[in-house]
Subunit: 429 residues, 2 copies
């Protein structure tokens, strides 16, 4: 019998792992001075509440009622036991799946988007800017901005804007505006176009455009969908719900958590509440961060200070990085094509609480097909990486472990990638 644990409540607080870590994460540095960044340095880009959360030291931060009100339309998100996958793998493990794809936009991204839109609206901000690649974050923020009456301008990497129109249409359906990046609307965009009028764009350029517009408009701010501490914080509703749902299902401890990691917010949101128990020596849960072998920041990157964008406008962040100018191959898991890893998650890796694992695109889609045909949900290509890591570990295992798979979103807007895989057209690079 599948386990659905609907009696669990939506969390009232976000969990801040910083409060429980044995040593604090290295601070972000100002890109000009190289000194630790001050809250005032961030005021042009983010509202007060998010800046405070970025440096918060308390263990729990209350979730305002208007945010919980919107969370309640799809949260608590489903947790179910993947019994048919267990049978197919011939494993003695009990596999639980925490599924974020039932959200209005089909991924976990809304957990932070709703919070960011609320705190900006509460601070009098009337316009948000952001960048997006394939459009997961852009569409999540468009949803959230519609809920709180904020205008949204999205710079979408031109290659995706042209070839993957569905999420662009989703942003527009919510009332947001989408610009292909590089655009003629910013100095950053015009500079790139002057050099190469046919530039397909990149996330790095799109960040620069969105930041430039926000910084030049006092009523506008900028929003980022991963990497930063406050984004990871907002995602901790996932892990808190999972712990409560597992208890309701009679599982008091978890042996391993598997999830995908691009910027890191989805995995951190699931794992950090479990790591709280590990940090207090009440549990011994392993956390596996599955990343694409085409963009392996944890398994092949360096742990050092680096910029978050190509142009070097953002603060320097201590993280696992492939270098700010690293350009990953065009794999289908667009959400995992980032050169760095969230500083908090990188810190947890350095301390030994999280381990990276690189997964090939072929193995990822094979796991996605297996999951689709056993459990019935087509996973987002990003999420397939976490599934593949679990499948490799658990197939034929006679150890009765309890494991949790984080399924960050559905793949209904990524079906052409599945078709390409089934047709044998995908490569690993």
């Amino acid at each position: 019998m599948s386990t659905s644990s609907p009696a669990v409540a939506v969390p009232t607080h976000w969990y801040n792992i910083t409060a429980d870590l044995p040593k604090p994460p290295p601070p972000p540095l100002h890109p000009g001075t190289g000194e630790p960044i001050q809250p005032a340095d961030l005021a042009a880009l983010f509202p007060k509440a998010l800046i405070a959360q970025e440096a918060a030291s308390e263990s729990y931060i209350e979730i305002p009622e208007p945010i919980r009100d919107i969370y309640a339309t799809w949260r608590p998100s489903p947790l179910f036991r993947a019994t048919r996958l267990e049978q197919e793998l011939g494993t003695a493990a009990r596999i639980y799946v925490k599924y974020e794809g039932a959200s209005p936009v089909g991924s976990h991204k809304v957990n932070s988007a709703v919070a960011q839109a609320y705190f900006n609206a509460d601070d009098g901000v009337t316009t948000l800017t952001t960048e997006t690649g394939a459009g997961q974050w852009g569409s999540a923020l468009a949803f959230a901005c519609a809920m709180f009456g904020i205008d949204l301008e999205v710079w979408q990497v031109k290659a995706s804007y042209a070839t993957k129109p569905y999420r662009r249409h989703l942003i527009e359906t919510y009332g947001g505006t989408v610009h292909p990046s590089p655009s003629e609307l910013t100095e950053s965009g015009r500079a790139v176009l002057a050099d190469d009028p046919d530039s397909p764009g990149s996330l790095g350029v799109a960040v620069s455009e969105a930041v430039e517009v926000a910084a030049s408009n006092p009523a506008a701010r900028y929003a980022l969908g991963s990497v930063l501490n406050h984004v990871l914080l907002h995602q901790t509703v996932i892990g808190q719900e999972t712990i409560a749902q597992l208890r309701a299902a009679g599982e008091d401890s978890v042996d391993v958590i598997y999830g995908c990691a691009g910027g890191g917010s989805n995995l951190a949101g699931l794992a950090f509440p479990f790591l709280r128990e590990v940090l207090h020596e009440r549990a011994a849960t392993r956390v596996v961060a599955a990343e694409p072998s085409a963009c392996p920041s944890l398994t092949a990157g360096e742990y050092r200070y680096d910029h978050g964008d190509l142009a070097g406008l953002t603060p320097l962040l201590k993280m696992h990085t492939l270098g700010q100018d690293f350009v990953p191959s065009p794999i289908h898991a667009g959400g995992l094509r980032y050169h760095g890893m969230a500083p908090l998650l990188s810190h947890a890796v350095e301390l030994g609480y999280v381990e990276g694992q690189a997964i090939s695109q072929q193995d990822a889609f094979a796991a996605g097909i297996l999951f689709s045909r056993t459990q019935g949900i087509v996973p987002a290509p990003e999420a397939c990486h976490g599934l593949a890591a679990a499948v490799a570990d658990l197939r034929g295992s006679s150890t009765p472990t309890a494991v949790v798979l984080g399924l960050s979103g559905h793949g209904q807007l990524d079906l052409p990638a599945y078709a390409a895989y089934l047709a044998g057209e995908l490569t690993d690079t």
Copy 2:
């Protein structure tokens, strides 16, 4: 505060409205003899259990455990109060939304697909055939067949096969096979192609191809996604859950139910459990069946015996029909482009328990945009028709009614239609 009522259980039985109707619905007639059809006449197409359900007289039919087990991965489906839509409409009505889009394929179709696949597998059937237009039904059945190890062959209307590949990819991801219809694989298909090699196909031809293949293979059966009694029966989990969820939210009665109606299964599934209370004179709930003005079987069709397909191979069904050769305009709500209405729903209309209402495509998409920007869920174009009927009735209303909107699915694979609407490119025909 939005109302989410997760403490409600998945129903253990389906509700059969036939048992409570003041007079029975007119029986289906054999296409050759014109006499009421006998169970044996259907044995080549359907498994025993479904044939029995088609003519069942008991009020409740138990849902087998393996079906409930799969239902439990997304059911009970969400019920929430649409407070932001209420504010936008300036209405005193309390608007509740029952949302089927959180299912693995994004619509209500899986409720019957899982049941049909189970009963076929239980009867030793190894292959199912079906037709699909835009692909909602085909993808739902592909999901269900994957769960029970049944091979699936889908004939998809060639126009959709070529222009709307996402749901075709979804069927293939689940392991199903998709043939563009008309195909060279059947006599019916070859006959059409001989006449017109460039035929874009139609649901009528696709039905004929799927039926022909099932009838010629003893291990194969045919599956239909709407119209028939057993399909409506399976959908009654929707309404039963809604009643329980409303009670948990403190609502003991509902004044009006709004839903879209193409073949009729989604609306019947929501409304019939409420009509049970009306039939027993314990409630006075109105039921509004919203249909496209481009395909208005209830509001402009005749109530008479007609075939379910173009070629006249199916039994004669007493229903509201625009004629078996009616070809609706190519509106985007593909699921509502059917010439007839389910006999049971038609019968309920004739008895005065359900009222039809025609909605233009423009009004439907306008309601879809309004709903997206207030409640955050982009509705399927089909579902927009029910929303539009509710919006027209409730805007500015000072009457504190309690209403339920049936939201049969999400529109993430229909986003190009929203883009066309926003660009002013849609017409009403």
